[in-house]
């Protein structure tokens, strides 16, 4: 929501006013017209917009394409109706349904999160089918195919009304709740984490995001909201059956409103539903009675056209018109504002990381063989070696992305105990930050938001995180691009963003994987200055580097890895004269040269 624009606040405010007007219209129009049918249409809009907004938390923010969301809607509906038949108000049934839906959501989603893209979608469809068949089968509970009805007890406590206004108000209230929750998530840490996880799962993990945890939270919230809407809709329908409650068609429709409105945006699902529900209703009226199938045919064709010509939905269209022309363009190699350094390098302090006897096999390949070393506080340790020597594999084991077959990595915690972190999250929380050799920006986020993902590690509140991110950005020379999309940066800019995101985590140990590859000479020098200034703040650094100039001027100590083994270590100038090292780099013939 924080798009670049010359006057972001005005654009933002205009947007909010527009949304407020639209929302007010949802209640005002039917009240003004006073027609039951119009009430019904607007209630339907509210229900679909609410469901779609809830779906969007999983399908949009977290990027997990669920086509089985009717599971939660159905659970809410059944819980509500079953309890009403036991004499319990749907206001209570609503929460009971939400609770069951949350449990179902976690059970269903947990195993599915290792699946990506289309596979996740297929798995959710399969779950939905299983739920539907089970609902048909267990007749004692669900009434089977014949469905369940509620007694027509009128009044607020039963959510059944003779007049339509109360139903509209409840539907509208639920929509507001869904929107508020969706907005709150998107503008707080959870939302940033979800989008980061969606864009680059490994980078998110490295930034200390519990990717499974945040997704489960998203699914749980989304399921609870869907179930609550389901309960209300069941009361509104007064009759439910497995065919309509656990319907694939319905699940697709919910997702489609979000898609057409703008997937992953807060207001997109609302816009999608507001536009499509009335069109669908009127199209059905106009075409439905013309010929069997005509309406469905037109519907399918329109869906294809929208997807083809509006792939980013209505919100994409809105942004195209509101985004200021010529946003932050310019030279991206702005100088790194490295603080002037004190002349004397500090003495290396106590040990902060111990690596002992790491072994790793990939199939028959012995990629890491007995790697061990220590890292001291405030030390810069250079790691060099030819391509394919296994440097990045070692890094992956130092940051939890790979588990060593043997050996251990111990890190000194801030409180002074030695710990052995296991997952990327463990490493991040004990203060180990890493970058990736192949840059992993969160493409859909701005530079500021990218850095904020790292900053959240120390600053859970958005304001503080933004502050910290800006500060880091300025330090890294990314100040002018705060509002630019990460995907618009050059490779040098992206490398710097990669470092900035890690720096914003305020790590005590920094693992840098070829941050200087592919950047120009001037930048290399600046980067060296930057690293030294980082080191001066007491951070220990392990840097894989190919740029020898940088390695020599940076490193307090150098490790040379070849074929998975450490073949030399020590003072940089001694190491480069080591016969083994020359042989590894240049071949046997050069050792005597």
């Amino acid at each position: 929501m924080t798009r670049a624009s010359d006057t972001p606040m005005t654009a933002h405010r205009l947007g909010l006013i527009a949304v407020a007007v639209l929302l007010a219209g949802l209640v005002a129009v039917p009240v003004a017209v006073g027609d039951q049918f119009v009430y019904h249409i607007f209630i339907t809009i509210c229900i679909f917009a609410a469901l779609s907004t809830a779906w969007n938390i999983v399908g949009g923010y977290a990027g997990q394409l669920s086509l089985g969301h009717a599971i939660f809607y159905g659970i809410g509906g059944y819980a509500g109706v079953i309890l009403v038949n036991l004499g319990i108000s749907p206001w209570i049934g609503m929460f009971a349904g939400a609770a069951v839906a949350v449990v179902a959501a976690i059970v269903v989603s947990w195993p599915c999160f290792r699946l990506h893209g289309p596979f996740f979608a297929l798995a959710t469809i399969a779950f939905l089918e299983v739920f539907r068949v089970l609902a048909l089968h267990f007749r004692e509970l669900t009434g089977g195919a014949t469905g369940l009805m509620i007694p027509l007890k009128i009044g607020w406590e039963w959510m059944v009304f003779r007049e339509r206004l109360p139903a509209l108000l409840i539907a509208f209230g639920m929509l507001l709740v869904c929107l508020a929750v969706a907005w709150a998530i998107r503008s707080h840490r959870l939302g940033f984490y979800l989008v980061a996880t969606r864009e680059r799962e490994s980078a998110a993990k490295a930034a200390g995001v519990g990717t499974v945890k945040v997704r489960l939270m998203a699914v749980a919230v989304s399921a609870a909201l869907s179930a609550m809407v389901g309960t209300f809709h069941a009361m509104y329908l007064t009759f439910i059956e497995p065919e309509s409650m656990f319907s694939l068609q319905f699940s697709i429709q919910i997702a489609m409103f979000a898609l057409i409105g703008g997937i992953g945006t807060v207001w997109g699902p609302l816009l999608g539903a507001m536009l499509l529900v009335p069109i669908t209703e009127f199209a059905r009226g106009a075409l439905g009675s013309e010929a069997i199938g005509l309406h469905g045919f037109v519907y399918g064709v329109v869906l294809m056209l929208v997807v083809l010509f509006l792939p980013n939905g209505i919100m994409g269209l809105v942004h195209r018109f509101t985004a200021a022309p010529g946003k932050t363009v310019g030279e991206q190699a702005a100088p790194v504002a490295a603080a002037p350094r004190s002349a004397e390098p500090r003495e290396a302090g106590r040990e902060v990381m111990r690596v002992e006897g790491l072994q790793k096999h990939f199939g028959g390949l012995h990629v890491t063989n007995d790697v061990g070393f220590t890292l001291r506080e405030g030390e810069i340790l250079g790691v060099i070696g030819p391509n394919g020597a296994g440097k990045t594999t070692v890094f992956n084991m130092l940051s939890g992305f790979l588990k060593p077959d043997e050996g251990k990595v111990s890190v000194l915690s801030p409180s002074g105990e030695w710990q052995q972190p296991v997952t990327p999250g463990d490493f991040a929380s004990i203060g180990v930050g890493r970058t990736f050799q192949i840059v992993q920006p969160f493409a859909a986020m701005t530079v500021e938001e990218n850095i904020m993902v790292g900053a959240f590690h120390r600053h859970p509140h958005v304001g503080d995180a933004r502050e910290a991110a800006r500060e880091t950005a300025h330090r890294m020379g990314l100040g002018p691009y705060l509002n630019a999309e990460a995907s618009s940066l050059t490779i040098g800019g992206l490398k710097r963003l990669e470092v900035a995101r890690v720096m914003a985590m305020e790590p005590r140990i920094l693992l840098l994987d070829e941050v200087m590859a592919g950047i120009n000479q001037t930048d290399v020098r600046r980067a060296v200055d930057l690293m030294l200034s980082i080191r001066d703040t007491g951070v220990s650094i392990i840097a894989i580097e190919h740029v020898m100039q940088a390695v020599m001027s940076l490193s307090d100590r150098v490790i040379v890895i070849n074929s998975g083994q450490i073949i030399a270590q020590g003072d940089p100038h001694d190491v480069v004269r080591d016969a083994h090292v020359i042989e590894a780099y240049l071949g046997k013939d050069f050792t005597h040269a």
Binding site: F37, T44, A145, I154, R162, Y236, S244, R284
Partner: protein, 398 residues
């Protein structure tokens, strides 16, 4: 000429605005699109013919009837369309609905709005099981169907085969939507009451592409009477796969849907011969028992240029005629007047084109509604049960 068309357009616009006073409006709520559209449309034609007939005879209470269509494609939509008919179109009553779930959803809207709702075709018990004040149903129900099937076994099939009814091994199979499930439930319950041996009751999804396992299961259990409540695709599949598996029960009794359609018979060929069917009144029936049937057929052919595709139109026609004429005999078009008029309807059996009489009893269900037992003989579906309505003899056994 120009002025006239302008006036017509204005009048049409006025009509659309819901400000019509010229005629009395009734809503016709059926699934006109989506999967149920075929028989929804077929049902609607019956109502249309009834309205044409009444209008040609001068309307009711001197006013012409205007039918307003509503498309109940799903449950939420059924509610929306019921609202539209009531609030925008100002209909005096709604006729419908063919599908039970749409009927249940839409009728509660009518109930809460205090508008009478006449169900002419949906069979689920729940439709009238809710004790609504404004809901009436003219057609026979799933229960009627289940009872009729069992009666037919006890009265005709067992004697025809020369065995005691309790020695028959009966297998009940049904598509697993509300329709099949509720009919099968009644067959099971009522069969047990009559002391029949029901070996298995099994549901399956309508869209299935394979029933061979089910057929083998029936064969394995030594089932000799199969009761299937089904749509078209699954009827064809079952009859074909039974023949292919060498499963030859002594009798197959279909329940409505697929078994009454000529297309099904064409699809399976002579395997259909001798197959029984319990359904709404169809067309090969003793017309002494169903006065007006020939006129209905003639009217249908004149209007649509083809024969009716199923008995749904006939039953909706009969229901609509009874209800609309009943309203015409009443005090007026206010909801309570319509309800009073409906309650006063008293048409004896054998006096309508479907054979059954109309009288609303408990739960406002037509307690004279009945189904017919039919058999496919030489490529035709002929009525064989009850004997009053039969045009042919049962062909059972050797």
């Amino acid at each position: 000429m120009k002025l006239k068309s302008l006036l017509t357009a204005t009048a049409a616009a006025a009509l659309l605005a819901g400000a019509a006073h010229a005629d009395v409006k009734f809503g016709a709520l059926y699934p006109f699109s989506g999967g149920l559209a075929l028989l929804g449309e077929e049902s609607f034609r019956g109502v249309e013919i009834a309205v044409d007939e009444i209008n040609a005879a001068g309307g009711i209470k001197g006013e012409q009837i205007e039918l307003v269509r509503g498309d109940a494609v799903d449950n939420n939509q059924a509610i929306g369309e019921a609202r539209r008919l009531i609030s925008r179109e100002g209909v005096k009553a709604i006729l419908g609905t063919y599908s039970s779930s749409r009927s249940i959803a839409a009728s509660q809207v009518a109930e809460l709005s205090g508008i009478p709702y006449f169900e002419l075709g949906a069979v689920a018990d729940e439709v009238t099981g809710r004790d609504l004040q404004y809901l009436f149903r003219t057609n026979p129900t799933a229960e009627t169907m289940g009872i009729m099937t069992i009666d037919m076994i006890v009265d005709e099939i067992a004697p025809g085969l020369g065995v005691a009814p309790e020695d028959l091994v009966i297998g009940v199979i049904h598509e697993d939507s509300a329709y099949g499930t509720s009919v099968a439930g009644h067959q099971e319950r009522y069969g047990a009451e009559k002391g029949l041996n029901i070996a298995t009751v099994q549901g399956y999804p309508t869209s299935t592409v394979d029933m061979s396992s089910l057929v083998l299961d029936l064969k394995d259990r030594g089932v000799n009477i199969v009761l299937q409540t089904s749509y078209q695709n699954d009827s064809v599949l079952f009859l074909n796969q039974s023949a292919e598996a060498g499963f030859e029960p002594d009798a197959i009794i279909g329940g409505g849907g697929g078994y009454s359609l000529t297309a099904t018979a064409e699809a399976v060929g002579d395997k259909m011969d001798g197959v029984l069917d319990v359904d709404f009144t169809q067309y090969a029936v003793n017309t002494e028992f169903t006065p007006g049937l020939e006129d209905f057929l003639a009217a249908y052919q004149a209007k649509y240029g083809e024969d009716p595709r199923s008995g749904h139109s006939l039953n909706n026609y009969v229901g609509a005629m009874a209800v609309l004429e009943g309203i015409g005999a009443g005090e007026g078009f206010e909801p309570d007047q319509i309800v009073a008029a409906a309650k006063a309807i008293d048409i004896p059996s054998g006096a309508t084109a479907a054979g059954y009489g109309v009288h609303f009893g408990e739960h406002n269900q037509n307690d004279r509604a009945m189904m017919m037992g039919m058999q496919w003989q030489d490529g035709k579906l002929v009525t064989v049960y009850p004997r009053d309505a039969a045009v042919a003899e049962f062909q059972i056994g050797d």
